[in-house]
Point group: C2
Chain length 326, copies 2
């Protein structure tokens, strides 16, 4: 491989849109610098704020947690990692042990929420008994728990490990299907509302999947190798991903330009976002945001278990202790 | 091939998004019906209006002229075809003879504007002496002449043969490059302004390139087979076209859905269009729309020939007689 553009030592990665090759040391610097720059540029987090970091144990969330931990002192951020044990057999058990190992290596106190224990049912049962696809149920549960934890703990924002290769294909798909407002939700930040709806931030907005992978490898961090048993990438999504991959390979930077313009358009439309939020009400069971009188999570758990689990999840979160509480 | 979904006789085309196979007769009915429906749905033309039809002699513009001629009596439209002889060697000569043959077959009186005669220079010279790419110069000249003719002749609208396979890749490219307002210009209709800027309409907005080709073949009409000598389709455009082709092949109707949503968004933004037009002024030489005191066409010809050709082109158009004036 080529030599590092900064110091001349052996490069571990080529960054086409920046026309650089970088060694381990300078790539780590580059990756973490880019995350810090994204936080600043889009106003994701301010000095002194606390941020809940969603950690599944996959390479992307491990990269997110590692980069945020590295830049936290400089930006004076308080990092609060949360892992949700989803009850998806071996995949979930491997995820949990990876998250424990990563937490130990990074020296962070991670919170673990066991869905089966907190709710009385894990993803497979919730999916089967509600007759809804597991990925839809899983998305609903994760969004609910992350927001509930942030509200319960008074955390300023929830950070997720979505990178440009997750977001760009999804944005493009929404545009192709004519749903511009869904595309605009894929901005680097969505506004929250005190004590009710947490701000959601995407610090990996401008990094690629490949960069996440190389970053966790050079940092010597473990990550889940098994695919989620419900993983399915076919049809239109696969075509769109392939297209964006080829396009950016031949025209480096197109993907970034696309997402930057989306972020710009989304920012210009903050009134739209406010309007959407104004249509939200509070769930009569758990008090968290809902489009009708019962939120999606309480409705799902009520149907499957006979009673809405929102209040119980909030109670469990309130008492939850992190892995290695100092 | 399969049988016609309407009458059971031999089908000549499969229309995937409509889940139909059609014979010659029913495909002609389908194609012309779709053009008529597009005109009505998007309000391109109203009963009794006159429309200038740009005819290059390629399959798309021949399909446009043929379909408009067929539906003109029912919609009470006056069709005025105009062909511009661009001076691109054999390609332009073949185009002219195709246009003459098509006009004879369809029984329409086509106007021919010879650029070399009207301006004193054709595309190759205008391109070489201005040091600008031939396709940029050609686009500028055609847009100018079409608008000038419509204004000079008091025609209600200018129709061009852009179909969904021209427009969708271009719209997607603009979105990927972050230029949403350029994408929104690719709507089925742009508003005009009396005596100054002609309304532009795209009656083939919802038909595909393949449908245009099959239509002119089954109608027994000739079309230019030679490619323009300046044709170049590479780089990003080729990738985007290929992607949309594959996407629509596997998910029939996606392209149409995409362009319909674009049309809807563009319509909702008519205020934006008005604002853009408000920024237009009149060229001090020819009086036609311009962003500065001299329009692009007058500036180009002034630089190449020493004097702006706009006024002369308007004069030539005023005296122009159609091919077979009754």
């Amino acid at each position: 491989m080529a030599k590092c553009s900064k110091c001349g030592s052996k490069a571990v990665i080529k960054i086409p849109y920046a026309r650089m090759n970088l060694c381990e040391k300078h790539f780590i610097e580059y990756f973490e610098g880019r995350v810090a720059a994204t936080i600043e540029k889009y106003g994701l987090l301010r000095e002194g704020e606390s941020v809940l970091v969603a950690v599944s144990g996959g390479k992307d969330s491990v990269a997110l947690l590692s980069a945020l931990t590295a830049i936290a002192p400089e930006l004076r951020l308080k990092i609060i990692p949360l892992h949700i044990h989803l009850g998806l057999g071996e995949y979930s058990d491997e995820s949990l042990s990876v998250v424990k190992e990563v937490s130990r290596k990074l020296g962070v106190n991670t919170y673990i929420l066991n869905l089966e224990e907190a709710v009385g049912a894990a993803i497979p049962e919730l999916s089967a008994k509600s007759n809804r696809p597991p990925c839809a149920v899983c998305g609903l549960v994760k969004r609910y728990v992350l927001n509930a934890a942030a509200i319960e703990w008074g955390v300023d924002a929830v950070a997720t490990g979505h990178h440009i290769d997750d977001l760009a294909p999804y944005a493009l798909k929404n545009m192709l299907l004519g749903d511009m407002s869904a595309a605009l939700k894929l901005a680097p930040v969505t506004t929250g509302e005190e004590g009710y709806l947490a701000r959601r931030v995407r610090p990996l907005y401008e990094v690629t999947e490949r960069e996440c992978l190389i970053y966790v490898i050079v940092k010597g961090l473990p990550f889940v190798r098994t695919l989620c048993p419900n993983t399915f990438l076919g049809g239109m999504d696969a075509l769109i991903r392939k297209f964006l991959y080829e396009l950016d390979l031949r025209h480096p930077g197109v993907k970034l330009r696309f997402m930057r313009s989306l972020a710009k358009t989304a920012t210009g439309r903050s009134t739209d976002q406010a309007r959407i939020q104004a249509e939200l009400t509070r769930c009569k069971y758990c008090g968290l945001p809902s489009r009708s009188d019962v939120c999606g999570f309480c409705r799902l758990t009520e149907r499957v278990l006979g009673s809405p689990a929102g209040p119980r999840v909030r109670e469990v979160l309130r008492r939850l202790q992190p892995l290695h509480a100092k």
